[in-house]
């Protein structure tokens, strides 16, 4: 396995230690619960914003803890939801009189852990609400299945609720905003290579030299279908088709456009994708009001990218523009 790794079992713990050592003033690390939290959290005058999810998606979510973003993140192992205990203990540590918002990407494991953790926290008298993010248009037929996944678009929910909480909004208001942003956010992803979970030590699947996986999530699982590789512009056309067809986004809309790298794709390529997406949207009368190019939610070392659109209105625009700070730059 070609990775910088010691014992794969310590992958997450060692990464978190690194994050803590690099940010000694702003962050606090609680090893027992894989917990990275703001040094100044919880604050009595602010709803605490918490997110779990598996590891392997960095910077999501442990490196997005900071002013105007998350108050804490408690990741599980690579691609595995955190144990219920982590959620419960995190909720206790972050308990604010204004309440705790638990952000959950829509996966079975994460939902179970957060549902149970929330119940236990509530039994302790902590006020908590769950907000489920599900922006992935690759998952269809959602009545039969577990519904859409939460993928890179969760960044916009985090950013908006983080800003609202920082401005003093109460729990109901923060929840309203989070749902509103989730409702106008859509993502579609494509992988050029499989990723290698450190504990597995080999790629999750094999792709031929000219094959790509279209409609992938962020856990290295194969996508909706396998296709032949195409020119970058043609891939963008396919992603845009899937995304714009879904909400839909219309001529006259103003949007935030995110090109998210899945981990192994250099930023030069992301800007090549961005270029065509921006122009194609302009051709449809859709204005890109805010641009996000870089890594927001990854699948370890997977080469690939996802495209996210958020339909902006004045309220969302204002929240996305609010100041924010984290271990890595995300805005």
């Amino acid at each position: 396995m070609k990775k910088f790794v010691n014992d794969p079992k310590n992958y997450v713990a060692e990464m978190l230690e690194g994050v803590a050592l690099a940010n000694p003033d702003s962050l606090r690390y609680v090893p027992a619960y894989n917990l990275i939290m703001r040094a100044d959290a919880p604050r009595a005058d602010k709803v605490s914003i918490v997110q779990g999810s598996g590891s392997g998606h960095e910077p999501a979510h442990v490196m997005v803890v900071g002013r105007g973003l998350l108050d804490a993140a408690c990741p599980g192992d690579v691609f595995a939801a955190p144990p219920m205990d982590y959620v419960y203990e995190t909720a206790k540590l972050l308990a604010s009189p204004k309440g705790v918002l638990l952000l959950v990407n829509n996966y079975t494991g994460d939902r179970m852990a957060f549902d149970m953790g929330k119940e236990m926290a509530e039994a302790d008298g902590i006020r908590a609400e769950i907000l489920t993010v599900n922006d992935d248009v690759a998952v269809q037929d959602s009545t039969y299945t577990v519904g859409r996944r939460g993928v890179a678009g969760n960044f916009f929910v985090i950013k908006a609720v983080g800003a609202a909480a920082e401005q003093g909004a109460d729990l109901d208001e923060v929840l309203r905003i989070g749902r509103k942003v989730n409702d106008v956010t859509r993502t579609m992803g494509v992988a050029l290579t499989a990723c290698t979970p450190p504990a597995k030590g080999s790629p999750l699947f094999e792709l031929g030299g000219d094959e790509i996986e279209f409609g992938v999530g962020i856990h290295g699982e194969p996508g909706r279908e396998r296709r032949r590789i195409k020119a970058a512009d043609a891939i963008v056309d396919d992603l845009l088709e899937a995304v714009t067809g879904d909400l839909p986004y219309r001529s006259g809309d103003r949007v935030a456009l995110m090109i998210n790298g899945l981990g192994g794709t250099p930023i030069s390529e992301l800007y090549i994708l961005y270029r065509h997406a921006h122009r194609q949207l302009a051709d449809r009368g859709i204005t890109v009001g805010r641009s996000y190019v870089g890594e927001y939610c990854t699948s370890l070392d997977m080469a690939g990218a996802s495209l996210t659109l958020v339909r902006l209105d004045e309220e969302i625009d204002h929240l996305l523009a609010a100041p924010a700070e984290a271990a890595v730059r995300v805005c």
């Binding site: 599980g76 955190p82 219920m84 179970m112 039969y144 597995k200 699982e221 194969p222």
Partner: protein
């Protein structure tokens, strides 16, 4: 099935734990085909945790022992498997209660309770291509065997065989739960990792039972 209920529960849980740890790579590779490959890792780490605290688990009775085991899995193990397997153990323990000896019917009732727990927790059912598709056929067969008067020494291998057949048959199904479900039609053609794990575990329990030399 006769003999001391607690000793039986201990043997079964220990066998499950050891099977999970030993098959980490195999189960993980099965999950990698259309899933995200973490099943073996999650299960192995989870049961390792259980084994770490093995000696200090409350052994008041078989039911309590199973419930404590379930608590460790449900609360301290991540992924989808922690809560699902934990719930299964909790429910099985509750069904066992404080009985000292377990009848065949009680064992079947415990397995039914475990399956119902998984269904509730996972919002899933037979036919969704999950471990339920091995666990439920296994339970059905066990019930039949006991009903026709078979003892554990005979019923267990038969049930393990049913689980194995059912696990193999998941290859023909389309996943509707778990990470594999996101690939839709593409999940057809490969077996479900959880179902195979149930079959492997059933086989191991059956063997252990023979070795232990249960009184039939």
């Amino acid at each position: 099935m006769s003999g001391n209920a607690l000793a039986g529960a201990e043997l079964v849980v220990r066998t499950i734990a050891e099977t999970a740890v030993e098959n980490e790579k195999y189960f993980g590779d099965l999950d990698a085909v259309v899933g995200d490959g973490d099943f073996g890792y999650s299960l192995a780490r989870g049961f390792e945790k259980l084994l770490e605290g093995w000696d200090s688990l409350d052994r008041s009775d078989a039911g309590t022992f199973l419930k404590r085991s379930g608590m460790v899995l449900a609360s301290r193990v991540g992924g989808t498997s922690g809560p699902l397997w934990g719930t299964a153990f909790l429910r099985a323990g509750a069904a066992a209660g404080s009985t000292e000896d377990l009848t065949g019917e009680q064992v079947v009732a415990m397995l039914r309770a475990a399956a119902e727990g998984i269904k509730a927790r996972g919002q899933s059912d037979v036919g969704d291509k999950t471990l339920l598709d091995a666990l439920v056929p296994l339970t059905d067969r066990l019930e039949q065997e006991f009903a026709r008067g078979a003892g554990a020494m005979e019923a267990l291998p038969a049930a393990a065989g049913a689980a194995r057949d059912a696990a193999e048959a998941t290859a023909g199904m389309v996943a509707r739960r778990g990470r594999a479900s996101y690939t839709g039609e593409r999940s057809r053609g490969s077996v479900d990792a959880g179902a195979v794990a149930v079959a492997v575990i059933a086989e191991r329990i059956s063997e252990s039972w023979q070795k232990r030399g249960g009184t039939a």
